[in-house]
Point group: C2
Chain length 381, copies 2
Amino acid sequence: LRDLLMMVPGPTIIPPEVREALAQPSLYHRGEAFAELLAECTRGLQGLLGTQQPVAILATSGTGAVEAMIVNTLSPGDRVLAVASGKFGRRMGEIAAVYGAAVTWSEVVPGEAANPVAVAEKLDADQYRALLFVYNETSTGVKQPAAGLAQVAVARGAMALSDCVSAIAGMPVAMDTWGLAGVAAGSQKALMLPPGLAVVALSEAALRAAGNARMPRFYLDIRKALASLGKGQTPFTPNVNAVLALRAALRLIYAEGLPEFQLRHRRLARACRAAALAAGLELLASSEECASDVVTAIRSPLGVDSGVLVRAVRERHSIVISGGQDSLKGAIFRIGHLGAAQLSDLCRTWEAIAAELRLLGYHCDPQACIAAAERAYAGKG
Amino acid sequence: LRDLLMMVPGPTIIPPEVREALAQPSLYHRGEAFAELLAECTRGLQGLLGTQQPVAILATSGTGAVEAMIVNTLSPGDRVLAVASGKFGRRMGEIAAVYGAAVTWSEVVPGEAANPVAVAEKLDADQYRALLFVYNETSTGVKQPAAGLAQVAVARGAMALSDCVSAIAGMPVAMDTWGLAGVAAGSQKALMLPPGLAVVALSEAALRAAGNARMPRFYLDIRKALASLGKGQTPFTPNVNAVLALRAALRLIYAEGLPEFQLRHRRLARACRAAALAAGLELLASSEECASDVVTAIRSPLGVDSGVLVRAVRERHSIVISGGQDSLKGAIFRIGHLGAAQLSDLCRTWEAIAAELRLLGYHCDPQACIAAAERAYAGKG
């Protein structure tokens, strides 16, 4: 198997320190060493999520964590408003509907951010129990106004439940300050781990709601996870090696410094957008302000199927980028620049993209893309 | 962190080949290489489970897989009979109840195996949709008569759903021949992987039932997993490294030969029981026939809290064994002998146990235990 450069919005590049932790000998999961490990991870995750609340660690993918957040706080029949920002915003509403919630959609044009004022109007039209939204919509590369959305929900007594799967670590999350009732996140994004570990935090109020929430859950029961957390354990056999890897990743993040880590993400995102524009391409994000810090979605030039481009970049350059999903299939390609990704990785990626675009009949200059990326990263123009 | 010898019924010793696979660079999870990987794993798992049915791979612990098996095949209000063989048998019924099934219990004395005739009588008393049972009850070290239980369920039109979490690989499973409607298994037992990967297989009839089953599920929806499997993918981002490790483990098992691998488990179990008896201790399993091949539960001698023994063995010998759970807490200790465990590991474990028992005031001869284990392993006496 070749070592591919992962420039997708997850799974991402796994640093050697994290890979080593994954391969460590087993650690007893009911002992003191595991309890200390869990405590260190909890503190690190609280810092990333901006919360004093306990953080439950689950052995699932990010979707499992989002489902856990929903089924632990809601009951069948509850009215919820879901921000349909793209594939993942829609998924939140779909999960709630599967468990019997009455879901109303707040539609968002792909590439645009939700407007908190419009969402507030929707919320005013009915008695909603919760507002569901994705902070960073991975399918469109658009950052949703999490603070503003949380605020309009809180003001109307609705719980703000946010999918932060691709936002965690790479983008600032201030759960307590923003008033988020719940956040869910996954490991295979800026946390630089393989998939398979996920985290959920609920506010005090959401935890009280969990006591009365009637959506069924057993494996995803956060009350069990939090009760075990108090004893330094997990309710079901934890993925010990993944938790060891999580600690290694958190240590890398805090060694770089969380503000510096997130600044690097913003600079990489700026560099990626600059490269795209230098290639004469159009961004899917409708504004600089709403463009994601961790993934950039770019419209494929006329006549070029983005799936063909993505495959060529993977097969001939060993670099993995993403195409579009669902209605955006073929129309966009997406570059993840998160976690351990560096400017040099991004430049190598753009060199490959520009070369392949030329072979597909779209003329652009690889060197101009790279120069633009470097200038933007450095903060000049 | 010290390298502990894991002699618990999971997590188990992880062989170097599997650890290396865990630390491999990432592999693109929507490409051909992953599809081939998944196909090889599926074939290997089908061999372990004795089925021609597709096997869904989930990123959960074993409990998640058991829950998936239940919620994909049943509807709220369904009558189910659960064999309460111990902590894990009970858990199956608890999961079904959480999702609204009407659960009747078939009680089993801890240490005994369920009697298929008695279960058949229970089944005759009502219209049951399913029989839930654990094949290897990890909490008591007792093998349940899976073939017999499946047979009485099939004869009455009830689905036989079996938790094979700790049985897979180490004990023969013949899903198709026995007529099991579903099996669920986990990675951290005889499969020699860390926790976090689980598998579920459903029979043709159970898959048809899944189309009408009304227990809610999204992340655990087997239909999604099987639809993706057809494309060589998983519905949610898979734990790629765990799947690579699964392939490495399956290759180790088939290189040893599955019959030989399982014979080694039976010999180790016989050796463990012989050592216990040589120490003058009593087994929890009521007969040789129902004693588990993968975990042995031993009654703690009078006046010795098994929790104290377990801790001493861990802290002073770096060997991890288990105590009892729930009502058996303090009263039994359990030794896992599965996956990569060898006779030498078992002897080292008994030497430590015997030494610590003596310090706790119970007199037994470590050398006699080891000699008995060696004789039993070799098949003499």
